[in-house]
Symmetry: C2
Subunit: 247 residues, 2 copies
């Protein structure tokens, strides 16, 4: 197919496709004539993956290129997952760490949090590499929680870690049936990046339900937005950007 | 304390504190003389919370102001959680939806995904308001997954929803012992925003462990970064921004 059809079928604008080609996120098309190139189903599939990583997964172009390069290497599932995690970095950029370091009220808390993270991995008996980005990310998360006075340590995290272990078993079950190695790598990436906001959403909905269960007499009316909304479709984006708000 | 001490103890630069004051994220100090204001422990605590929401939680200034205003209203825990969720919006901005809508290969998938999301809530027996942002966020997540060919529906999500329910019970247990209403609201906010990346990190570490368990013969060496790193501290940020990379 021509680039115009690739654009139409993917919903990605032509200038954006050209940008992805220049940035190496999408392999070049098959040259058919001077200034003409042909794209196939693999291009369409890759383009949709790039689009999902960037727009829904919130990855940068650089991180997307790195992770796509990583999953193209010939590795088994264990190493594919590892390389994917390394290329992705922490689930949230660790910008909170510098604020923590600059706080003289809590000297040495950086080391404490790294030790708490390591203690949790030990208590769970997890095989997690010393260089795994999860260790630093977990320490950064504990630091951010302590910075606001929420004293969350190994004991508090243990039940969450048990549930994470159960979640990972469900994840790996889904990968087990896939034969093609690139398919497995791509699915592992999709599962890690695109399922994360879905799981966060499920937790929030479950919190709403659990709060309604525990405080039945107080919850006759479902919670409502503090301000009138223009419409349900724009509500989420409005909360982030301040647009479409009646306030 | 003076603003200089507030800055020193919080690790937040004075121009940033002034910006938060102008934006209404931090209440004004107590006036002591012309051009002088005094700040107390509540200011310090609020400043640390704002810092954590923006730098670690990834919230915008607008979303932070909205959520802080929401938790200052006199509500019970059920409504406090609900208002917090509404003010936060979706866990990830739903920018993927427009790409999905523009895809003519999958007509009507928007409605399908909303129906799948509603079916999951019904199957779980969850009390979740019709206007809850979780419903739209879940539909957007399913849409993004389908866009890359991962056919995740109600059946696939059910085990994840069960684990989310168990996670929410742990969450609510942590809130149950707190007496002060503002403390509960603040903790609910911290738990929702700051624990999300921690839980995502735990899942990735558990995936690494589970993959090592299931593929033992292939995993003698722990996975490594595809490129040499400048150091563990900068590695995560490097993957996002492209800085500090040896490639």
């Amino acid at each position: 197919m021509k680039m115009s059809e690739l654009s139409r079928r993917s919903g990605v604008a032509i200038p954006t496709i050209k940008y992805y080609l220049r940035e190496g996120l999408l392999p070049a098309g098959h040259a058919t004539a001077s200034n003409q190139a042909d794209y196939d189903a693999d291009h369409l599939r890759r383009l949709r993956l790039v689009r999902a990583l960037i727009s829904f997964g919130g990855l940068s172009v650089t991180a997307s290129r790195e992770v796509l390069r990583a999953i193209s290497e010939p590795l088994d599932l264990y190493h594919t997952l590892g390389v994917t995690h390394y290329a992705l970095g922490a689930p949230v950029a660790d910008t909170g760490a510098s604020a923590g370091t600059g706080n003289p009220d809590a000297p040495g808390e950086d080391d404490d949090c790294a030790a708490e993270a390591a203690a949790l991995v030990d208590r769970m008996g997890w095989s997690v590499g010393e260089e795994s980005p999860g260790r630093a990310a977990l320490a950064a998360g504990l630091r951010a929680l302590r910075g606001v006075g929420a004293d969350v340590g190994t004991d508090e995290l243990l039940p969450y870690a048990e549930l994470a272990a159960a979640t990972a078993r469900v994840d790996l079950d889904h990968l087990a049936g896939i034969e093609d190695r690139i398919d497995v790598a791509e699915r592992a990436l999709v599962m890690t990046v695109l399922l994360e906001p879905v799981l966060a959403t499920l937790r929030r909905m479950a919190q709403e339900h659990e709060a309604a269960l525990r405080y039945p007499s107080e919850s006759k009316q479902p919670p409502r937005s503090p301000a009138p909304r223009a419409g349900t479709d724009t509500a989420d984006r409005g909360a982030r950007t301040g647009s479409h708000r009646a306030t």
